[in-house]
Symmetry: C2
Subunit: 221 residues, 2 copies
DNA sequence: TAGATTGTTAATCGATTAACAATC
DNA sequence: TAGATTGTTAATCGATTAACAATC
């Protein structure tokens, strides 16, 4: 009975970057690759690359490195890409439509199978092959489609209700784009994707780089 | 001469969640708040909250906690929200338009001042008040507007070129939504926002929770 | 064999948490 | 005063890196 330790997002993203790097290599590249090459290409430490890969693959060979074909298979297997998963989307506004049309999801074995909205102008239409239903049908359709993942792309004020509805409909994990801290009692899995946060941190880092930060507080005492 | 240590994204996101929590408190809430209350609401450790806040604010008072008004001001100041910053967007497709219409950015003091695309059907139009220009005008406009941040929302194949163009035009930081590892020689600041990665990790965590993972590798030896 | 490369063990580093003294 | 709450110091934990032995 091995403990299931949740994998860190840092590690997961590194593994993805390895996979992407290897897959993007030009036609005719050698069929093996060393940890040092991977590390150099991504600006990482080579020991870290080996450790990461050891957690995932059946290993490399001294003097040869890793066989790319096997490594791709191992990475995809571990990352879950070879096992297509389905999700529903709540909110078919600009962000929702961007998510529907984000082809990249398919590369990760992900598929958005239905979208929901409350706007009568979009209900009943479809976008890039994804049908948009009334939000009232969330319970019904989620159960019928046996979907366990929901994506929330509604305005902040509507997010909590959307989340509750999804969880009641059997959804077990929620990817939330609304800038709110969703309250969940049960052991649901919530991932908040606060895009503003990422961008704001990038800008702050940039500013601090251009002009070092002042001292903290505002000197009001 | 204090060392400028780059702030970790974890810390930054926690600080944002404190700010959001405090701002979202209902009208008539007390004008002070304790670290324990914040910690409990967000599922964190109260010592961590105090340490985080110590890095940012001029401090709380024993038996009282933190004055919300001052704390909001300190957090906004530290996070850079009281200092509006401008960015340009390359790629006005679905994702680009979603970013333009993501009102939440304004809450972080961010503004997208111009968008670029190569599609003649959208060049010359505007979306939600944001003008869309030909990609050829990136160098010209970035310099004139003195913009230091660029957002890349183009397909993967076009991302590297967009990045190069931006950096040549004086942009110093790039927020990249395309699923590629951008190559940059100079000391430009690159932040990759791989949405597929976040979603895929969420799904994997969910799967592992529902059925524990198998052993690694594929047993091919 | 010699050299390249992996994988492991130990050291380091940073972030989180526990214990507790300080203070209003 | 007594109790609530902050802030600091020390301990813990996990992740990264360095050193090095194993191996093809």
């Amino acid at each position: 009975m091995s403990e299931v330790r949740p994998i860190s997002i840092m590690l997961y993203k590194r593994l993805l970057s390895y996979l992407r790097l290897i897959k993007q290599r030009p036609e005719g590249s050698p069929d093996n690759i060393s940890s040092a090459v991977i590390a150099h290409a991504l600006g990482l430490n080579d020991v870290q690359v080996r450790k990461d890969l050891a957690a995932v693959s059946s290993g490399g060979k001294p003097k040869i490195g890793y066989i790319t074909k096997d490594l791709i298979a191992d990475l995809e297997h571990f990352l879950g890409h070879d096992n297509c998963s389905e999700a529903v989307l709540v909110g078919a506004g600009n962000l929702g439509r961007a998510l529907i049309s984000y082809e990249n999801f398919a590369n990760y074995g992900l598929k958005i199978v239905a979208a929901f909205d409350t706007d009568p102008r979009v209900i009943g239409t479809s976008f890039k092959g994804c049908d948009i239903y009334s939000a009232e049908r969330i319970p019904d359709l989620c159960r019928r489609l046996q979907v366990h993942l929901g994506i929330i792309a509604v305005p902040a004020v509507a997010a909590q209700e959307a989340c509750d509805t999804l969880l009641n409909a059997g959804v077990m994990a929620v990817w939330n784009f609304a800038p709110v801290n969703l309250k969940v009692t049960e052991s649901a899995l919530i991932r908040n994707e606060d895009m503003g946060a990422s961008l704001a941190l990038l800008m702050k880092t940039l500013k601090d780089k251009m002009s070092p930060p002042e001292e903290k507080g505002r000197g009001r005492r």
